[in-house]
């Protein structure tokens, strides 16, 4: 199994708690004090009012300071969030191992999980086709940003990363979709290093979509953010930086959603069982579970029942990061992994092996198994 293990050698995280793992760990340790979100939504589009929901924008984002003013207005908020997260991850890597040279950049790429890309950009672009004098009088420089692969493509340009570059869509599972794609590309030798994760941007359009569907659990905020993890094949750099963790497995399954929520839950339980077996980890050795659907009406209970099916009643403690992040949809799985790594580093979550789960209303389910780096030397892998 060790041949299929990936090292997480760095990360970049932007969340409602702020930038990086430390503020996220602090906020998770004291969620009551972390409701820093005001009523003002970020970057409010054209005076569009938000629905009466609590929102949690990325704290202290300030894209001009991070990314410079040049060309910023062409970039969607998703572009900016991924760019900033990749920048943070690469800067961390450079501090410990020096900057990537051209050859290394050719073997390094970006893999991003999303839902539909930048909801706001696509909505505004389409609106222009209705309200402009002619339907094609859209802003041409805004066209690339309507595509889902814009954050990955723009970030590759900014950092000169010509290795495998991909974008996956999978709703709440999307972060796992991206990590699994990256895992395959690394193990198949298509790349040596991938920055993989997810993104979700807050907008009036998406907040109204949440409001209209009534899909949020009671009191759950709409959040946003991006997290990317620098993945390499295990032991690829014996003298490199100490990893944050080891990705032991990342599995996805699906069920026809018309079979009902219970069938989706059973599939999740099966998926977790397969992932643990593949990772060589017994259920009783899982120290902590980060549930993906804790912020979703109905699905929260479905996910919990699936976890009980695997772990029995009780089971390992749950780290529900939604109390800090809100519901972050396609960034969720990636941000939840970040939350786990943050708590591990802070010593506020039990070490050992963690499980991150995700459930989508379209019948997609997934999970990943991750081991804290300090525990990695223990035998049994």
């Amino acid at each position: 199994m060790t041949a299929a293990v990936l090292d997480i050698v760095g990360c970049g995280v932007l969340s409602p708690a702020g930038s990086g793992l430390d503020p996220l760990a602090a906020a998770l340790a004291a969620p009551e004090g972390s409701a820093a979100s005001g009523p003002d939504a970020p970057d409010g589009p054209g005076g569009e009012p938000f629905p009466p929901l609590e929102v949690r924008p990325v704290a202290d984002f300030r894209p001009q300071e991070r990314l410079g003013r040049k060309g910023l207005s062409r970039l969607t908020r998703s572009d900016q969030l991924v760019m900033a997260a990749c920048g943070e991850a690469l800067a961390g890597l450079a501090r410990t191992a020096g900057p990537l040279d051209e050859e290394a950049r050719g073997r390094t790429g970006i893999v991003v999980g999303t839902g539909t890309g930048s909801v706001r950009r696509l909505a505004e672009f389409t609106r222009d086709t209705f309200v402009q004098e002619r339907p094609y009088m859209v802003n041409p420089s805004h066209f690339p940003g309507t595509l889902m692969n814009s954050p990955a493509g723009q970030s590759a340009i900014r950092y000169g990363l010509t290795g495998v570059n991909s974008t996956l869509s999978g709703g709440p599972v999307a972060g796992l979709s991206a990590l699994r794609f990256a895992r395959n590309a690394l193990l198949g030798g298509h790349a040596d290093r991938l920055l993989a994760g997810g993104v979700e941007e807050l907008s009036a359009q998406s907040a109204w979509a949440w409001y209209r569907t009534g899909a949020l659990g009671p009191g759950v905020a709409v959040g946003e953010g991006s997290a990317v993890f620098v993945l390499e094949r295990a032991g690829a750099r014996p003298h490199g930086p100490a990893p944050l963790g080891h990705l032991l497995a990342c599995e996805l399954r699906s069920t026809d959603p018309a079979e009902g929520a219970a069938a989706v839950g059973r599939r999740l339980a099966e998926c977790v069982g397969d992932a643990l077996r593949g990772a060589g980890v017994a259920a009783e050795d899982v120290a902590v579970v980060v549930p993906g659907a804790a912020g979703r009406r109905g699905w929260s209970a479905v996910e919990e029942r699936a976890l009980r099916r695997v772990f029995g009643d009780g089971g390992p403690p749950r780290l529900a990061a939604q109390s800090v992040l809100g519901e972050t949809h396609s960034a969720g799985a990636a941000l939840h992994l970040a939350a786990l790594l943050a708590c591990w580093r802070d010593g506020t979550a039990p070490g050992g092996t963690g499980l991150v789960t995700a459930v989508g209303p379209d019948g997609q389910v997934g999970c990943l198994v991750v081991r804290r780096a300090a525990d990695a030397a223990e035998p049994g892998a």
Partner: protein, 408 residues
């Protein structure tokens, strides 16, 4: 599974929903005959556009092709993917029950996701405000539902990966599915792509001046752009050994694939990066340039694409360029499904022995080189043994798949 890994992977089923007909055979015959699927736009109100043609799937009745999922619960792109997947399974003659009980999943590519659904939501915003968004439409909006629909339709329990790498996405999906079967992570994968005709995409290309006046004319001296199009396409991938055991008809073997990212410009293609993608695909597939008998081009018909693509090929092939043709001359640009249609025709070409034409070319662009064989106007009877299939995209996403005849 006791057979050694990695396994050889073959294509044994093809499915398609397109402007040229439903089903792989209809599409392949039309491409061989050089027919055009381009006509007036019906999927959205084209009033006010100066370009009003598209390659749309006319008269598509999803309920005729979908046995399990309720089309009212899924967007048009998801319907295309699910219908193409269902058709590919029928084409493979695999027992659907056996399939559903297998370790099987899907991977589908898309450029614009559920663009028809998103277009309706944008219209609701414009007409009645955000408070009027239809929750049922919101529930269908995520692009990830495209592969999920294929799984739901076929009762597959494995993964459902939706690749959002724009107009190269089907090749990413096929490459990914190939790796899953090859490595033993899955025993069967349905791979392809889907996109729906929509207002935003048409407007975007229109504004860039990238839309052709009538039909796309890849490799023509006076080519003036693409024609937007839609459709769904699926390939059924399984191990060679399993295909032989069940006596399946084998179209072709998936030999490998390669991916690069330009990381230079969001919309302009980059010859050096495409050439590197070709080299990576060759290396992964274990083929040498002189072994490639045909290139199914990205061939959009814009001046920049065709120039860049041929330049990239010359970087790798030198002056021994294999025949290079573009099926977009007939289908238009089906976006995220485009490379999947290329894969489909590559497989049929290997099995049936023909090269599809660049059907609309009138005067081959001399600037592309006098030796460029773009299979002008009519198909050629010739059996390629190794075919490389191109997919390039906005965002600098390049992916190339390589197919070959099955050697004993």
């Amino acid at each position: 599974m006791s057979e050694p890994l990695p396994r050889r992977v073959v294509v044994t089923g093809l499915g398609a929903v397109s402007s040229l007909g439903i089903g792989a055979e209809a599409v392949a015959q039309a491409l061989r005959a050089g027919r055009s699927g381009i006509g007036p736009i019906e999927q959205f109100d084209s009033a006010g556009f100066e370009r009003t043609l598209a390659g749309e799937v006319r008269g598509f009745r999803p309920e005729e092709h979908l046995r399990r999922i309720d089309p009212r619960r899924w967007g048009r792109s998801a319907q295309f993917a699910a219908a193409a997947a269902r058709l590919a399974v029928a084409d493979s003659a695999m027992d659907p029950e056996r399939l559903a009980g297998s370790r099987a999943g899907s991977s589908f590519g898309t450029t614009n996701g559920e663009s028809a659904v998103l277009g309706r939501l944008a219209e609701q915003w414009v007409e009645d405000g955000l408070a009027a968004l239809d929750p049922a439409a919101v529930a269908q909006a995520d692009a990830g539902r495209i592969a999920a629909a294929a799984n739901a339709e076929l009762g597959l329990t494995g993964e459902a990966q939706t690749l959002g790498t724009a107009c190269a996405a089907s090749n990413y999906a096929i490459g990914y599915g190939y790796d899953q079967v090859r490595s033993g992570a899955a025993d069967i994968m349905l791979c392809g792509g889907a996109d729906a005709s929509n207002r935003a995409t048409h407007a975007g290309f229109h504004r860039l001046g990238a839309l052709a006046e009538d039909v796309p004319r890849p490799f023509d001296a006076h080519r003036d752009g693409i024609v937007t199009a839609e459709g769904g396409v699926a390939l059924l991938l399984e191990p060679l050994e399993a295909a032989r055991e069940r006596g399946a008809r084998i179209y072709a073997e998936v030999l490998g694939y390669g991916m690069t990212c330009d990381a230079r410009h969001m919309t302009n293609p980059d010859a050096a990066s495409i050439a590197e993608c070709v080299r990576r695909a060759h290396r992964n597939a274990g083929v040498k340039p002189h072994e490639v008998d045909y290139v199914c081009a990205h061939g959009t018909g814009t001046p920049a694409n065709d120039r860049t693509e041929v330049a990239a090929l010359r970087e790798v092939f030198g002056d021994r360029l294999p025949p290079v043709s573009s099926i977009k001359s007939m289908l238009g640009h089906t976006m995220g499904a485009a490379a999947g249609f290329g894969a489909l025709v590559s497989c049929v070409a290997i099995r049936s022995g023909f090269l599809p034409p660049s059907a609309t070319v009138r005067e081959v662009d001399p600037e592309l080189g006098a030796d460029l064989d773009c299979v002008p106007v009519t198909a050629r009877t010739e059996r390629p043994r190794v075919v490389q299939n191109h997919g390039f995209a906005f965002g600098g996403n390049n992916a190339i798949t390589v197919f070959g005849e099955v050697s004993p």
